[in-house]
Every structure is written in C-alpha cells, then in structure tokens.
Amino acid sequence: MVWAEQGGINGMWKAMEGIRSNKPVWTDEFIYKGLPIEKIIELTWQEREKVPESAKPRWGGPLAYWIVALNGCQVSLQALGNVLMDFDCEKVIYPHIISGPLNVIQRMEFLRFHLNRHQRQIEKIKSHADFP
C-alpha cells in the first residue's frame, strides 16, 4: 500500500513537472476524459486483477513499521496538493500500469479506491473460518 501510494504521488509530481517544463509525460489522446475511476477500472481491469510485478511487496518487516509508513503518505500527498493548486488537475496526466492515462483527479480517486479495495480484502480475510 505504501509503495502504491508513493508511486502514484511520484507519478503525479513527475507529470506536473513535465507540464511546467513544457515536456508533458502524456502527449497521446486522453481517452478517459471525465470518467470516474470506478468506470475506468470496470473498463480496464480483469475480475481478479493480478498485482503487477513492480507493485509486489519486497521489503517485509513488522506491521507497525508499515502502518507508520502508510500514515506518512499523507505528508507527501498534501504537499503535492499544495503545489498542484497552480495547475489544471484535469490536464496533469500520468499513466497507470494497468489502466493507462489517468489525470490527477482520477489518480486521487484511484488512491481512495485502492485503499478501500484492500480494506475490504482485509475484512474478508478476518472473517475467514481459519483466520487465527
């Protein structure tokens, strides 16, 4: 979750800098203009989407560390939000590894969607008969 969120923040920041320096990251047609992230997921994800290789967890370590790290994402996200106030968020586009081009609005929606999705997975696992 931490890498996913930081990766998304990093991508939005790169897209913003690309526009600022007149070298936009995304120059092709923006095919998802105006669509909410749920619709884009419906169009682009398989029913049981596999985690991309680059997004698989590698470090391991105690849960407490990852909780702290995940909480820390808010600092990066809010800092990005402050800088983005000077930009048209609809036009700051960075591609997602599965779904393709997403603008900042859709990227922010995706962060919320992704957290909700994995929260539901945790709740499902906790309700499993064999859960320790």
Partner: protein, 38 residues
Amino acid sequence: MNKLQHLIGQVSDARQQFIAAAQDASADQASFKPSEDS
C-alpha cells in the same frame, strides 16, 4: 474546499479506515493467507 482538497481528504479518510482494519493484527494474522479455493 476545492475538488482537489476534497479528494485528498477522501484519500486520508480511506487510509485511516484501512489502518484501523489492519493495525491490530498479530504476526500470525498478518501473514495468514486463505487457500485459493476457500
């Protein structure tokens, strides 16, 4: 509040809900994986 700040607030809320669901897990619980067919 503009749209961007609203969305950032939604991410923050979702993050806290995720953390609330995960943070009390023991080591055994954190590593539990149900079998594919269950």
